[in-house]
């Protein structure tokens, strides 16, 4: 049964890889972002939206230039050295005009999942001009408040959001949606209890509909990131695999159904990059596609191009485009 499940989940990952040895063709689209930490591609138009997190804004990329779309998010600081200014984090369109933004700008318990209606809006809009928002507040002494909504992924009717508040539970939260109406965020899956490893960060939905989580682990511990598959409805853990990656920040399936991860590699950022995850016996093996300097988020567009944000050097964060073929 276990083996069956395994093969089942990995079908999409098993195909051979295609990258030439010198890596895929790529180019830098924008090079002066400030801690970019999220990417979403607008349905219908294919426009790229980026969380220019340290600059407290969300921007749209038009001909290699940034156009502010939502501005004036509050700023918070992440880390103790290196330290990063952060504002908005994860981005996701649920339809052409509805953009959902995971916050990183407020303290745990007050952090917001904000929903914006971009239709006919006069841009840029202010961060507090959202259509709706919701929080995961602390409740009594037992339940801690949630924050740093790092990444978002959706099924047909729900958004899944990785959180970084209660380190005993490691919540992935969920917000249902109908049309362009997003319900309040709620605690859903306690990944730390399930895996005994901290920090769900990367999230995606597999072509078969499973919820796939990249468990980052400790930033001070190398090689401890996990790749975990859950049944999105029953919450049953289907597979939990050691990846040997250091700090997974993002997961995404390419249009060919191949699974990729970004590794931030906190304790030695030279080891960071884009990796392909391939089934290997009972486990998973990684193949480095390209080295990247502190990569944070990624999204494939309809043509199969991959867009990646990297923090890079201070105030020189990049949006990178990798040509189709992954």
């Amino acid at each position: 049964m276990k083996i069956f499940k395994f093969v089942f989940l990995f079908v999409a990952m098993a195909a051979s890889s295609l990258c030439a040895q010198d890596g895929p063709a790529m180019n830098v689209i924008v090079g002066d972002l400030d801690n970019p930490c999220g990417i979403a591609i607008q349905p219908e138009t294919g426009a790229i939206f980026v969380s220019d997190s340290g600059a407290s804004r969300i921007v749209k990329i038009v001909d290699g230039k940034v156009e502010p779309v939502i501005t004036d998010f509050p700023v918070d600081i992440y880390g103790k050295g290196p330290k990063y200014n952060i504002g908005p984090l994860g981005l996701l369109f649920i339809d052409q005009n509805t953009l959902v933004v995971g916050g990183g700008d407020l303290i745990d318990g007050e952090e917001k999942l904000r929903v914006y209606d971009l239709k006919d809006a006069k841009l840029p809009i202010k961060a507090d001009q959202m259509k709706t928002s919701s929080v995961l507040a602390a409740a009594g002494e037992e339940v801690k408040g949630e924050g740093n909504f790092y990444a978002l992924a959706k099924t047909a009717d729900a958004i899944y959001i990785t959180c970084n508040g209660d380190d005993n539970k490691g919540w992935v939260a969920k917000a249902g949606f109908k049309g362009s109406d997003v319900a309040s965020i709620e605690r859903y899956l306690a990944t730390k209890e399930a895996t005994q490893i901290d920090a769900p960060v990367g999230v995606t939905i597999s072509p078969r509909g499973e919820l796939v989580i990249g468990q980052m682990g400790e930033i001070t511990v190398p090689n401890d990131s996990l790749l975990t598959f859950y049944d999105a409805n029953s919450k049953e853990m289907l597979l939990n695999l050691k990846t040997n990656l250091h700090d997974i920040t993002a997961l995404a399936y390419s249009n060919r159904g191949q699974l990729y991860a970004l590794d931030f590699a906190w304790s030695d950022t030279k080891q960071g990059g884009l990796f392909q995850l391939l089934a290997d016996g009972d486990g998973v093996k990684t193949k480095k596609i390209v080295a990247l300097d502190k990569p944070t988020a990624m999204a494939f567009d309809a043509d199969g191009s991959l867009y990646v944000t990297v923090i890079g050097e201070e105030k020189k964060g990049q949006l990178i485009k990798i040509q189709p073929g992954l």
Partner: protein, 334 residues
């Protein structure tokens, strides 16, 4: 006697080859199977040799200090003191951690400067304030002891070597395990009677309101990471711990999260031995550690009542004490 040992060694080497592994004792309840490095498979003879070396003070310059002097099985495999004294009574600034379950650790030492037990084992022998015997001299000294000569030949097929010393000690350390605690019986065997009501309350706090499992997690109660709790940070020249190794600003004053298994046996606590009792430790966390610029974000004031604190201590004391504690005594030395 010596002859028997050699025969024993050969037999067990053969048995390893046959995939039977008498050397690998059953893993105590609650712990994962011990992983042995591919170049250091265990055998009874190797473990027996490692045990002798562990207890042998001849590995120090003045024949007075062995590993067991500072990591004494009778004292929780630590030494019962705030810091450790080596040859000539010299003291370092750090407390001797337990050797229990070190096989499960991603890093060795408070600052994680060694990766493996093999790598770690030779350090203290040569360390000037611990055993102060340069490794070459140690190899020479052991080579002059007939019993060791024979055992190294039998185990490694070569004369006494630094590598062999490290491997044998590490193989022995991999047998020093603490599991099988009331917590495991409760959690795995669902034995409700394994924990007292107070210990159960403490366990709930540990994994909830008291936030302990943010760092002390998994079968060995550690995330294997490094955190700043403020311990020792008010000193004139604080020990900067992990920072000395990584030079990452955020690692200032961070130390490795220690295992908490059989923690009742290894007072005093923390990397500098500055907290005498588990009550003191819980009080430290309850008041939110010691403020400093690098304090971990998972350390904050806890609203613990007197009863909560007592329950947490009960859980640590009762819940995590192994019923098969490896109470090893010094073996006969060659």
């Amino acid at each position: 006697m010596k002859r028997t040992l050699v025969v024993c060694a050969l037999v067990s080497a053969w048995m390893v080859a046959m995939q039977h592994d008498p050397a690998v004792a059953e893993t105590p309840l609650g712990l994962p199977t011990v992983v042995h490095p591919s170049d250091n498979a265990p055998s009874d003879a190797k473990i027996a040799l490692g045990k002798q070396l562990y207890f042998d003070a001849r590995l120090s310059v003045d024949d007075k200090v062995s590993c067991a002097s500072c990591h004494d099985p009778k004292k929780g495999w630590s030494n019962g003191e705030a810091t450790a004294s080596g040859v000539g009574g010299q003291r370092g600034g750090r407390s001797a951690p337990t050797v229990l379950n070190t096989t499960y650790q991603r890093f060795q030492f408070w600052d994680g400067r060694a990766d493996t037990l093999e790598q770690q084992a030779l350090g203290p022998i040569a360390n000037p304030i611990e055993m102060n015997l340069p490794i070459d001299a140690a190899v020479k000294k052991l080579s002059a002891i007939e019993g060791y000569q024979k055992q190294f030949q039998a185990v490694f097929g070569s004369p006494v070597s630094a590598e062999g010393i490290g491997k044998a000690i590490a193989a022995f350390e991999r047998t020093v395990l603490s599991g099988n605690a009331p917590y495991d019986k409760y959690k795995i065997n669902k034995d409700e009677s394994a924990l007292s009501d107070s210990a159960k309350q403490g366990m709930k706090l540990f994994f909830g309101k008291a936030n302990c499992s943010a760092c002390h997690v998994g079968p060995n109660f550690t995330d294997n990471g490094f955190h700043n709790l403020g311990v020792g940070m008010k000193a004139e020249k604080p020990d900067l711990g992990r920072f000395e190794i990584t030079k990452l600003e955020g690692d200032r004053g961070s130390f490795k999260t220690p295992s908490l298994r059989d923690i009742a046996r290894s007072a005093p606590y923390m990397h500098d031995g500055s907290l005498a009792t588990l009550e003191d430790v819980v009080e430290h966390y309850s008041k939110g550690g010691i403020a400093n610029d690098y304090l971990d974000e998972e350390i904050f004031t806890l609203k613990l009542s007197g009863e909560d604190k007592a329950a947490l201590v009960t859980f640590l004391n009762e819940g995590l004490s192994s019923s098969t504690y490896p109470d090893v005594s010094a073996p006969e030395l060659p």
